[in-house]
Amino acid sequence: MIVELLITAFLVIGGLFGIVGSYGLIKLTDAMQRLHGPTKSTTLGVGGVLIASMLYFGFVDHHVSFHELLITLFLFITAPITAHFMAQTYLRMHTKESELPPTGRRYGWSIYQDPPVVEEDE
């Protein structure tokens, strides 16, 4: 009974965050802001469903399932990288270097400038 309540609670929490994250895509106005939705809220949305799934298999189905942990691991690795790709593409297509803050270094941002040549150490 308690386990069922817990599973339901996690499913509802996961669903709520999923909806909020998707709603963010409609509500926020510029592409960089919209990137925040899928990288954050959705993580907890998926996380909630995965915890519910682990609880279900552990207590109702009586066998331990590790797949959920793996999904979490892969999600944590891939989510920032996809976000990074989208940010780079957006910046390259819609933003000039003058619109971004300075790097505070001798070199500019990497999509506008080549990396400095490193002398090979002998």
Partner: protein, 163 residues
Amino acid sequence: MLKRIFPHPLLSLLLLIVWTMLVNKVTLGNLLLGVIIGIALPIMTAAYWPERALIKSPLKVVSYIALVVWDIVVANVQVALIILFKPTSKINSQWVTVPLELTSPEAITVLAGTITMTPGTVTALLSADGGSLLVHCLHTDDPQGEIDGIKTRYEARLKEIFA
């Protein structure tokens, strides 16, 4: 000799664990297959990591992961609240530049990933010399505070983890 069979012991161990979790059943055959994968893959991919990062203290890695997971939960709630209750015109998005003290590519990758996963910030760009990160804040009234937060909370810990 041992170094030739296990050029990257941590990667071998990780592969064994991931393989066991993937098949979801601990049997002798699966473990054996995991060990074979754990030995074969690092040797096959050795060319892609000529200088691998050294991790100084594994305990700090565990505490760092715990901190980041907690921050992700907090970040989710914060971003959800901003999306739901802040009028669009009041959301004050800004670019900030975070100067880096980390130098190894692995450490910078982990830091950039952490920034993207945590409170209202997404990493967008690296400067050409790898010395600073361009970070987009969803909503902030205090850009310097965000930069200091990232530097003290994550970068300082990563500096202790990566040699």
